[in-house]
Structures are given as structure tokens and as C-alpha cells.
Symmetry: C2
Subunit: 480 residues, 2 copies
């Protein structure tokens, strides 16, 4: 059944929440008193529609229904998740919860996007404090999976667990914080770096651009995949973590940060930062910067997904939950249904020729899995290696297009298997691929017969598919 | 002429420097009194040989000569760059410089890998202080490009500029720091985060693993491609940076970090961190963690390179300086020579079928560039679109293998162009690809004749190549 989320406050953060829920198939009901709320949220949704599906190699669920509501009561109606992303003013948030709780389902979870307030503060005037938690996301919410989940001693005993399970279904990575503390975990680090950065600028040591480069050309890359401690564990080498840390002892006494002190945020310092930032990034609009950032994040996250590492494991695990189920194999079947991600573009501004083959290869993997070529089968017994491909490119495919492939078995004889893919985009045939595969014994990595059961299944599929005729463009492989 | 670098101290950092110089074609002379120095450095070099070339889509220069020397005098002989990566003890470093300067070229640059000392401290007992600078790298030095370059008022007037130019030739990103300060720029941030992290662990708010997740699932990804200020600029939206920062004012007064204070590094705290780190990463050896990290970094950095953004721009710009020069087009020519990067693997443990086509597509881009299909030509006039490919897969290719491709023009008639690629790996033919292209008018994106000059050149090439015969496996495209 379609789930419903209520979004209270539809700015950069609330809009990001709305977009993620919608694109994962939830209905979303928005309350935001700003006259431009609808416009802002639709712009955000446009970006998210290009970005979030680009992380996945399967189609996302059909988009949910988005609606805007003039009152809180209407917005929270039927919602199982209520996300508050109002301005960071405690009283405002507390009042809002009172209104929400006078009408909402007592079983619904009320999550706050607050960066700094602790759950006990948020709960203090509430009718049902146990229902309110911190669910702190990171911008862009439609791409970054981290959610800091924080409760207080008044939080319901299973509320954080329920919240975690629920947010995982929309691809998030909820991190339960053991104990409430101002600014939770991540923002304490951001605040520390921010304070130090203000000093460096104020003292003329570095500009905003130099600071950004000092981050993104070095440790920022490390932190995109391992964090602080695993990075240091590696650097410490076989002598071990304890040895490494104790070496750090003296450094704690050295004047390596100014953080015992807080710079005053004068108008002059603000102007200094703003003008340095203009010099650094002023040639790009915010929309251009957002698009640059999203493209970069998608590329980095996809590269980690291919490895199943760090954030890539979150993506890969989530993708498994929305993988297509095995269809009837006895008729030519859909083996691929996906959006073309941003990193598949080439110098001609369209999907590169190799990506048609990559899409076909994904479709092939899925078909071969369905007939029994599981990871375990590959590790211990056999697999199918491609020996020939014939590709006809019939139409350009652009980034963001949704493509699908149908697979037909042309021939299956013992260790030989010939498959034919029709790749469609926007209703027209964009390419056909004929693929000739040979079954391989994975101990010797040489051609060898597949097990009888697999061979029989393939023979039956090939016979059944023969009834559907020979597709146009077939016959391009196996001539020699 | 081959340049020479002297590496004083061959541990994790010095070894990383040595590997980068070597793989970029420099000769490297190492001095390290440790009895295991040679073994350690060779292990590092093995990792670097897999990793650094995987960032590039062209072959790196032929590797330089590595030699180990028993004395400093011998090691620095003929060196234009002398990199000191000795333990962080000021007196030790100062003594070392005295020995170095008694024999080295006065024009050579002496860079120190120090994390914390300022150049004026390093220079204080030196014969020629002007020759000594800080050149602070980030682990792994063979992958991460950031080098903080710092001088003092005694530093030679053009020394930092010379250092920058020289380090850029080996693919590094030297950042000139405007003013010396303890720990330069990046390590001040690392130290700030480190101190806060110690508090969080000591107070039981989070474990090492939770802290790492709080970083790498959220802001770490942002910092891998934009830094602190550009990220906030985007978050701030069209209201502008000054508006965004002034909002932050109050937060500076809030207790969002403990950084006014320094936790005491007791044995108990050290043990707590070490055992949490074991629970988090203890199932992997340091070598396995290094390999995981390198693979992740390569994937992320390659994804940014494809976009020419952030660290990817550094890579792309450097790659241009080592691009192969145009050979004689009148004989079948090498159009591809590269190592197979880690992210080209598939479920069968070998290079995926689509990557053969990707390699061919790179070769094709290079050939088409040489005949005049420049980015400018594509933007304003025409390009070549592939309409058909026929691929024969003849041998498995593994990650780290070096592959090359020869391109032969089979046919060139007006808007039609047929190319044939022979892809070789370890001396044997691993695949052949026949590619049929059509010239396209980029205004209409429809087939159209190429300019006479380009058509004539192609005709002449096709005629010249005909003398070399029809390759085995040709004839797989253009049948319909």
C-alpha cells in the first residue's frame, strides 16, 4: 500500500525530503506558508528526478502523489511519517508540534530536521513527547543517505528502530545516535571546521577557494569513502591503532587549531568571505552549482556502488530491494528498465556507444541470473563469457532518458547461447544487440558444458521464443 | 632528460613520494637507515603501480630507476628535488638539512613532508635557508594530488613557483599557502575534527565506526568534490553568501563543539578507541584496507575526471600533458595504450565486455581528433556517430593489464567511415572491433557530408591502409 509522508516546511531541506519520498513511491502532502513554496519545491523535484534515479541501475517505483495543503491538519492526514523542517527557532517548532499532535496519528513518527536542538528540547511542551525524534538529513537530501536519528529518554522504546526501518525503505542510512547532544555528531565536526576556517580567512592565511581546495584535493576524498578513524588506522599501519593514537598525544598540546577561541563574526569578516566566495564561484549560478554538485556526487556514489563500498553498499543493498522480480521466461522478457545516468554521456552530448553495451551487459547478467548463473554458481562452478557482439545503433539516447531492453533467446545448444536484445527509448527502438555467449568452467576458465538442468531450461526457453519469429537485425554473430 | 628526486625517509609518506616520481618517469634515489626500508618501499611501489596508472586513460611515461643509498651524499647526488619525510622531530630534521646542504645542488629544492613545523623553524640552522620549503602531501601520496607549499620570508623569491611548476609535471596539485602557520591549512581542520572526535568517544556519544559513518555517508561526499565554502554557497541559495554566513552568527555562541577544551589522552581512552577500531575494521588487514581505499579513491577520482570537475580537472589537465602525439596516419597506428583500471571489472573477475567497446571508443575519439574532429569542430559543425559495431572477444583481460589498440581504416566514402581495431593485451590479440560511423551535421544531428578537407584526408588514409590487407575478422558490419 502506498505510504504517506507529511512535509512541514518545503525549503532546501524539506523539499529534499519530499523529493526522496515521492521518487520512492510515497504520497507526499506539503504544508508551507510561503507563497513561493510550490514553485521552490517543484524546482527541487525537477533536479531530484534527474539525480536520484541516476544512482540506481533499476527503475525506481512509480512516483507518488504530491499535494500542497493550506493547513497542518490537512497535511498530516493519513501520514505515517511527519517531517518538520521549519526555521531553527525552538518555540516555533514546539508550537508546530502541538498543532500536529492535536490531529495526527499517535503512531506516526514526527521527525525534526533540526541541526542543533536536542530531542528533549523539541519534546518539552509536547502532548506526546514519545512521538518526536530528531531525523537530521544532509543536503542534498535526495542524494546523500545519512540521517542522524536521535531520541531522548522520553522517546518511545521502539520508535528509533521503527524510524530506521522505515527510512531504509527509501534508501536512507539512518544512524542512531547513542545519546542526545547539541548538534548531534556530524554538525559538531562541521562547526569545528567552520570556526577554524573563519580564523584562517580573518588572519589572511587562506581564501575560501584555497580552503576548499585544501579539503577537496586531499582529505575530502578520503572522507568520501572512509571516515576519520579507518583512514588513520590505515595510515598507522601494522603497528596498530593504539600505537598510532598515542603518537598523537603531544600534538594535542600544540597550537594546531585556534579552536579554544571563537572569532567574532564582524561585518568586515562576513564581507571578506562573501567577496572571496564570489571570486571563487560567482561565475556560476546557484542552479549551475547544484547541478555540478549533483553530477559529481552521482559519479562518486556510483563508483562506490560498483564496488559495494561505503555509501555504495547502502545503494547496492537498497537496489536489491527494488530489483525486478523474475518474469515468465517463456516469452521474450524485459531484462532492463532504467534511467540513463549523468556519467554515461560522451563528447557528442549523448549516451556513449559503450554504454549501450553496458546496459545490454546488465540485462544479460539479469537473464543469466534468472536461469541459474548466481554469484555462488560463478564462484564454484561456471559462468557465461561473451565471445561476440553485434550492435546496431538506431537512435540517440540522452542523459535522463529511461531505457528498457527485451531479451529473446535465438539459439541455445549446449555450451553455446545466442541472445538478442531490443533496447527501447521513448517508445522507439534505440539499438539492437546480438550476443553470442559460451558456457565456461570457472575452474579452468575454458569452454565447458553447462549442467543438464540449466541446458534443458535454456532449450525450452529457446523453443518457446522461436514462436515469436526472427527479429530484424538478427544474424550478426556466429558467422565464423 | 630524466629528472632525479632524492627521497630521505622511505616510510608511508616518503615511499608514496618515491612511487609517484618513479611512475611519472623520474629516477629516484632513496636514503633510509631502516633495515626494512627497501622491503617497505617495494610493497608501496607494488600498490602504486596498480593504482596511479588506473587514474589515467593513457599510458604513463616509462618508469624511472629506483636505487637505495647508504649515505645522504650519495642519495642527493644529481637530484633537482629532495624530499625529506623523516620523523616529526625538529632537531633531527635540522641536522639532516645541514648534511644535505653540504653536498646538494644549491638550485635543488628541499621539500619537507612535515605536518606541523613551519618553514622558518626548519630553516633556522640551515646553511641556505632559502632552499628549504614545506611540501606537505596527503596519504596515499601516489593518488591524492594536494601538496601544501609553504615558505617563510627567507624562502627564495621564485622557489615556491618553481616547486609548483615542477610538482605539477608529476600530476600533483600544489597549493601555495600565503603565510606560515603551525600545521598549515588542512591539518588544522583534521586536528579540530580529531579533538572533537576524541570527546565524542570519551563521552560515549559515538564509536569510531559511527563517527566514520557520520562522515562518509554525508558531508565527506560533499567534501570530496566541493569544499566547505562552495557547499555552503549552494545551500545558502540565491540569497547569497553574506546572508547565509550572518545567519551562522548565533551558532558560534552555541555549545556545538567542545573545542575550547582538550581531552586528556589517557590509556583508557586510547584503549577505547583501539578496541572500537578493531571491532569496526579488524576483519581486514592493513593491506586489505589500503587496497579497499585505493580502489574507492580511484573510482571516485575517475568519476570526477570524466566530468573535469574538482580533482578530476587536475587529472584531466595532467593527462593532456602526457597524451600520445599524433603518429603517421598513413599506416595503421596505435590509438590506445593504457592500463585497465580497477573499476572495469565485472562479476566474472575480468574486464567487462562493455569496457572493450569503451576502450575502442577512446581509440576512436583519438583517431577522429587527429583527422580534425576537435571539440570546437563538434560544437560548431559536425561529428561522427557510430551506427554499428561488431566485436569479437578473443581473450580475457584482467584489471591492471596494459592494453593497446591499432586502428586501420577499412573504408572511407563521403559520410561513411569503417574502422577496424585490433586490441592487444600481453602480446596477444584480445579482441577485434569493426566500427561503422556516419558523419553527422551537429546542427540537425542528421547524416551529412564531412568537409572536403576531412573527406580527402580520410580517402588518402584508406588508400594507404589498403596496402596492409584485410584483417582477420573484418566484414562484420554494413551488411544491411
Amino acid at each position: 500500500m502506498t505510504k504517506t509522508a507529511a512535509i512541514l516546511g518545503g525549503g532546501v531541506i524539506g523539499g529534499g525530503w519530499a523529493a526522496r519520498f515521492l521518487l520512492m513511491g510515497w504520497d507526499v502532502r506539503v504544508f508551507d506558508p510561503s507563497p513561493t513554496a510550490e514553485e521552490t519545491l517543484n524546482a527541487m523535484l525537477g533536479r531530484a528526478r534527474r539525480a536520484l534515479p541516476a544512482l540506481y541501475d533499476v527503475a525506481l517505483p512509480a512516483e507518488g502523489k504530491l499535494s500542497f495543503h493550506g493547513t497542518i491538519s490537512e497535511a498530516v492526514d493519513g501520514a505515517v511519517w511527519i517531517q518538520e523542517s521549519a526555521p531553527e527557532r525552538l518555540e516555533l517548532k514546539q508550537k508546530l508540534y502541538q498543532q500536529v499532535q492535536s490531529v495526527c496519528d499517535p503512531e506516526a513518527i514526527i521527525g525534526s530536521s533540526t541541526s542543533g536542538f536536542m530531542p528533549s528540547e523539541l519534546q518539552s511542551c509536547a502532548t506526546r513527547p514519545e512521538q518526536i525524534i530528531v531525523a537530521h538529513p544532509f543536503n542534498p537530501v535526495y542524494l546523500l543517505p545519512l540521517i542522524e536519528l536521535v531520541g531522548s529518554d522520553k522517546t518511545g522504546p521502539d520508535t528509533l528502530d521503527r524510524a530506521k526501518d522505515l527510512l531504509e525503505t527509501v534508501g536512507l542510512f539512518p544512524l542512531k545516535v547513542r545519546q542526545e547532544i547539541p548538534a548531534h555528531i556530524a554538525d559538531r565536526f562541521l562547526e569545528a571546521v567552520w570556526r577554524e576556517a573563519l580564523w584562517l580567512i580573518k588572519d589572511g592565511i587562506a581564501t575560501t577557494e584555497e580552503i576548499d581546495d585544501a579539503i577537496r584535493m586531499g582529505f575530502g576524498l578520503r572522507w568520501g569513502q572512509m571516515g576519520l578513524f579507518e583512514t588513520y588506522r590505515v595510515a598507522g599501519g601494522p603497528a596498530g591503532m593504539a600505537h598510532f593514537i598515542s603518537q598523537f598525544g603531544p600534538a594535542l598540546e600544540w597550537p594546531w587549531t585556534k579552536l579554544m577561541d571563537v572569532p567574532e563574526l564582524t561585518d568586515e569578516l562576513i564581507e571578506m568571505i562573501a567577496s572571496q566566495s564570489d571570486a571563487q564561484s560567482g561565475h556560476l549560478s546557484i542552479a549551475e552549482l547544484e547541478s555540478l554538485r549533483d553530477g559529481n556526487l552521482i559519479g562518486m556514489m556510483r563508483s562506490l556502488k560498483a564496488r559495494g563500498s561505503a555509501v555504495g553498499k547502502v545503494l547496492a543493498d537498497h537496489e536489491k530491494t527494488i530489483e525486478p522480480v523474475m518474469p515468465d521466461l517463456m516469452v521474450p522478457m524485459i531484462t532492463l528498465d532504467r534511467q540513463v545516468p549523468t556519467d554515461w554521456v560522451d563528447g557528442n552530448g549523448h549516451m556513449n556507444e559503450s554504454r549501450y553495451v553496458q546496459a545490454m551487459s546488465e540485462a544479460s547478467d539479469r537473464f543469466l541470473l534468472w536461469i541459474g548463473t548466481t554469484p555462488d554458481y560463478i564462484a564454484t562452478q561456471g559462468s557465461w563469457f561473451t565471445v561476440e557482439n553485434h550492435v546496431r545503433y538506431l537512435a540517440e539516447v540522452m542523459i535522463g532518458d529511461r531505457i528498457s531492453a527485451t531479451t529473446k533467446v535465438l539459439e541455445a545448444k549446449g555450451k553455446k547461447l545466442k541472445l538478442f536484445y531490443t533496447i527501447r527509448c521513448n517508445g522507439e527502438v534505440a539499438a539492437t544487440v546480438e550476443q553470442l555467449l559460451i558456457h565456461v568452467d570457472m575452474q579452468t576458465r575454458r569452454a565447458g558444458e553447462p549442467p543438464a538442468e540449466m541446458a534443458d531450461l535454456l532449450t525450452r526457453i529457446a523453443e518457446a521464443h522461436a514462436a515469436f519469429g526472427v527479429p530484424e537485425g538478427a544474424g550478426g554473430t556466429g558467422r565464423r
